[in-house]
C-alpha cells in the first residue's frame, strides 16, 4: 500500500489518538510543573471609635478569582510538586532515614506518606492478583475441559459474568454481600464467632477483600484464553508422552504448560496493564481509608470539593506513567530485539 493511501486510511484513528491520548500526556506534563495560585490576601485596617485601629488580613475572593481566571494553570513551581509531601516526599524520606528506630519503623513511617501508601497497594494488587488469577483461570480451564460437552456452554456463560460486569458494579455487589449485614459478612461473623468482625475495619482485611475481588474479576479472562489454548494441544505429543510413561501431572507439566506458555505471556501482559490502574474497586468497596491506589489518588485530587488540585493530580499522573513504562519495558525491549532480528 503506498504511503499516501496508508495515511489517508489511518488518519482519523491516528488523529483521535494523538489529540486525546498523546496531547493529554503533554498537557499532564505541563500541568505538573504548575501549582494553583495561593489566595490573594489583603490587609484591611478597621478603626472603631474608642477601640483604636486594628489591621486584619482577609482573603480577597474577587482578586483570587480574577487571578485564577487570568492564569488557569497557576504559578510555575518547577519540580516542587513532585518532591512535596503528597508525592515523592524527599525531605520526609530523608528525615525518616536519618532518624529512625529500625527497619519496621522506617517501613511504617514511609507507608504513612500518601504517595507511597498508594504505590504499595497498587503494586501489591498488581503482583498478587495477576499470578493468582492466572493460576485460578488455568485450573478452571482444566476442570471445564474435562466436563461433558453439554454442560460447557452454561459453565462458560456463568464464568464470563465476573469479567464482563462493570467493575464498579461488581465491586458494589461483593461489597454489599460482605458488609456485616450482608450474607458473606454475617456468615463470617458467625463462623469466626466474632460479632464485631467487619471487613472494613482493619487494613489487612480490606486488602484481602480487594485482592479476592481482583482475582474473582480477573480469573475469567485467563480461563477463556487458556481454555481455547487447551483445545489446540497436539494429541500426538500427549499420546507419545503417555507411551513414554508420563503420568497425568507430568503430561500437564511437560506438554500442556509449555504449549500454553506464549498465551500466558500475553495474558500476563494484559492483566498487568489492567491491574496497575486499579481504581473502581476502591470506590465500590469505599476502601479509601485503608487502601488507596495511584489512580484513586489522581481521582481524589481532581474531585476536590473546594479546589481541584490539577498540579498535584498531574504530578501523580506523570509518576504513574513512569510506572507504566517501567512495567512495559521488558515487553518493549523484547519486541524491539525480535523486530531487529527479522
Amino acid at each position: 500500500m503506498p504511503h499516501k493511501a496508508f495515511f489517508a486510511f489511518i488518519m482519523p484513528s491516528l488523529l483521535a489518538m494523538l489529540l486525546f491520548i498523546a496531547l493529554p500526556i503533554v498537557s499532564v506534563a505541563v500541568q505538573s510543573l504548575y501549582v494553583q495560585h495561593e489566595r490573594v490576601v489583603t490587609e484591611v485596617e478597621t478603626c472603631a471609635p474608642f477601640a483604636g485601629c486594628t489591621t486584619e488580613t482577609r482573603v480577597d475572593a474577587e482578586a483570587t478569582e480574577k487571578l485564577r481566571h487570568a492564569e488557569p494553570l497557576g504559578r510555575f513551581n518547577g519540580f516542587g510538586t513532585y518532591l512535596d509531601r503528597n508525592h515523592l516526599a524527599t525531605a520526609e524520606i530523608g528525615a525518616i532515614l536519618a532518624d529512625n528506630a529500625g527497619f519496621a519503623d522506617i517501613a511504617s513511617r514511609i507507608y504513612n506518606l500518601p504517595f507511597y501508601r498508594a504505590l504499595a497497594f497498587t503494586l501489591t494488587y498488581t503482583f498478587v492478583v495477576t499470578p493468582l488469577a492466572m493460576l485460578l483461570g488455568f485450573c478452571i480451564a482444566l476442570g471445564v475441559n474435562a466436563i461433558p460437552p453439554f454442560y460447557k456452554g452454561p459453565v462458560i456463560f456463568f464464568s464470563l459474568l465476573p469479567m464482563i460486569v462493570t467493575p464498579l458494579v461488581g465491586a458494589l455487589i461483593l461489597y454489599w454481600m460482605s458488609s456485616p449485614q450482608g450474607i458473606l459478612g454475617a456468615t463470617l461473623q458467625s463462623l469466626l464467632n466474632d460479632p464485631t468482625l467487619s471487613l472494613k475495619s482493619s487494613a489487612v482485611l480490606t486488602w484481602v477483600t480487594l485482592l479476592v475481588y481482583g482475582i474473582w474479576h480477573n480469573a475469567p479472562f485467563s480461563f477463556v484464553v487458556f481454555y481455547a489454548g487447551l483445545q489446540t494441544v497436539p494429541h500426538d505429543t500427549l499420546e507419545s508422552a503417555m507411551i513414554d510413561g508420563a503420568n497425568r501431572w507430568e503430561r500437564i507439566r511437560f506438554v500442556v504448560i509449555p504449549h500454553l506458555m506464549p498465551l500466558a505471556t500475553f495474558v500476563a501482559l494484559v492483566q498487568l496493564m489492567d491491574n496497575f490502574r486499579v481504581f473502581e474497586p476502591i470506590v465500590g468497596f469505599s476502601a479509601e481509608a485503608n487502601a488507596t491506589s495511584l489512580s484513586w489518588s489522581i481521582f481524589n485530587d481532581l474531585r476536590g470539593q473546594v479546589d481541584q488540585l490539577f498540579g498535584s493530580a498531574a504530578a501523580t499522573s506523570m509518576l504513574t506513567i513512569v510506572g507504566v513504562v517501567i512495567l512495559l519495558s521488558p515487553v518493549l525491549v523484547r519486541t524491539w530485539r525480535e523486530f531487529n532480528r527479522r
Binding site: 500500500m1 504511503h3 493511501a5 496508508f6 486510511f9 489511518i10 482519523p12 484513528s13 491516528l14 483521535a16 489518538m17 489529540l19 486525546f20 491520548i21 498523546a22 500526556i25 499532564v28 500541568q31 478452571i140 474435562a146 466436563i147 459453565v155 456463568f158 464464568s159 464470563l160 459474568l161 465476573p162 464482563i164 462493570t166 467493575p167 464498579l168 458494579v169 461488581g170 458494589l172 455487589i173 450482608g182 450474607i183 456468615t187 479472562f221 484464553v225 489454548g229 497425568r248 498465551l263 500475553f266 495474558v267 496493564m273 490502574r277 470506590v283 489522581i298 481521582f299 485530587d301 481532581l302 498531574a314 499522573s317 506513567i321 507504566v324 515487553v331 518493549l332 519486541t335 523486530f339
Partner: protein, 293 residues
C-alpha cells in the same frame, strides 16, 4: 482424526467436577443473590438479624403486603431519574461503537495491508497508549476542556472514549484483517475498483464477524467506563455508572441503598443478555488477540 477417550480415575473426576461447580457458584451466586434481594426492602436485604430474612422477606411482607416489591426500582428510575442516565448511556455507547468501528476498520485495514516498517511502530505506540491508565488522561483533559468550554457535554465524552478505545480496536481489527487474503482486494482493484471501493465493497462484507466482535468490546468499554464519564460529564448528562456512584454519596436517607441496588441490577441486566447472545463472539474475541499475536 479419532480422539481416543482417555479414562480418568474416579476421584480425579469428582475433584475436578466439584471444583468447577464451586467456581460456577462463586461466579454466579453474587448476581443471583443481588437480583433476588433487589425486590426486598432494606431491612431484609441488609438485615441485622439474619441473612435468611433476605430470602423470605418478612419485613417486606410487613411493609408492602407482598414478598416482592418494586419500590427500589420505582425509587431509582422515577424518583431519582435513573431513566435519563439510561438514555445518556444509550447515546454514548451507540455513538462510541459506531465511530470506533468506522475509524478502527479504516486504520486496521491500512495497518494490515501496508508492508512498511512504520506500521510496526504505530502498533507499538498503540500498545503503550493502551496501557495508559484512563484517569491519568482525564487529568490531562480537565483543565483544557474547562478553558475551551466543552466540559460536561456528551459529544466530548464520546470522542474521548472513542480515542481511548482506538488502540485496542486497531490491534484487534488489524489481526482480523490479516486473516483475510490480500488477493481478494487486489483482484478487486485489478477489476477497476479504487482502494477505498475495494475496502468498502469487497473486504468489509467478509469482515462482519470480526467487526461484530470488535464492536462488542467497544460497547463494553464505553458501557463499563467510570473514570472518564464520572469526571467529564456534568450532572444532567451523567451515564449509568457515575449515576450509581452518586447514589452512594447520599445513602444516609433510608431506602436509598435499595435504589442503588435496583440501579445496579438494572445496569447489569443488559450485560447478561449480551453475554447470552454473543458468548461465542466474546470468547473468540478474547482469544483472537492471544492466538494470533
Amino acid at each position: 482424526m479419532i480422539v481416543k477417550k482417555r479414562r480418568r480415575p474416579l476421584p480425579l473426576t469428582v475433584l475436578s467436577t466439584t471444583f468447577v461447580l464451586l467456581w460456577v457458584l462463586m461466579a454466579a451466586f453474587p448476581f443471583i443473590w443481588t437480583v433476588w434481594g433487589s425486590f426486598k426492602v432494606e431491612q431484609d436485604f441488609f438485615s441485622r438479624d439474619s441473612w435468611w430474612f433476605a430470602i423470605e422477606g418478612p419485613r417486606t411482607i410487613a411493609q408492602t403486603g407482598s414478598a416482592f416489591t418494586g419500590d427500589g426500582y420505582y425509587g431509582a428510575w422515577v424518583l431519582r431519574d435513573f431513566f435519563s442516565s439510561v438514555v445518556n448511556t444509550i447515546i454514548v455507547t451507540v455513538s462510541v461503537v459506531v465511530i470506533s468501528l468506522t475509524f478502527g476498520t479504516l486504520g486496521g485495514y491500512a495497518l494490515a495491508r501496508s508492508g512498511y516498517r512504520y506500521t510496526f511502530w504505530l502498533l507499538m505506540l498503540a500498545l503503550v497508549f493502551r496501557a495508559m491508565p484512563h484517569i491519568t488522561l482525564v487529568s490531562g483533559y480537565l483543565l483544557p476542556f474547562f478553558e475551551m468550554n466543552i466540559w460536561g457535554h456528551l459529544p466530548t465524552a464520546i470522542i474521548v472514549l472513542v480515542a481511548i478505545n482506538q488502540p485496542f480496536t486497531l490491534w484487534m481489527l488489524h489481526s482480523f484483517f490479516l486473516s483475510i487474503p490480500k488477493d481478494l482486494d487486489e483482484s478487486a482493484m485489478v477489476d477497476g475498483c479504487s482502494r477505498f471501493q475495494a475496502f468498502r465493497m469487497v473486504v468489509i462484507p467478509v469482515m462482519w464477524p470480526g467487526v461484530i466482535t470488535t464492536g462488542l468490546f467497544s460497547f463494553l468499554l464505553a458501557y463499563n467506563d467510570f473514570a472518564v464519564t464520572a469526571m467529564l460529564l456534568s450532572q444532567p448528562n451523567q451515564t449509568m455508572v457515575p449515576k450509581i456512584a452518586s447514589f452512594l454519596g447520599t445513602i444516609q436517607q433510608e431506602g436509598n441503598v435499595m435504589f442503588a441496588v435496583a440501579a445496579v441490577v438494572s445496569a447489569t441486566a443488559p450485560l447478561f443478555v449480551l453475554v447470552m447472545f454473543f458468548q461465542r463472539q466474546i470468547v473468540s474475541g478474547l482469544t483472537a488477540g492471544a492466538v494470533k499475536g
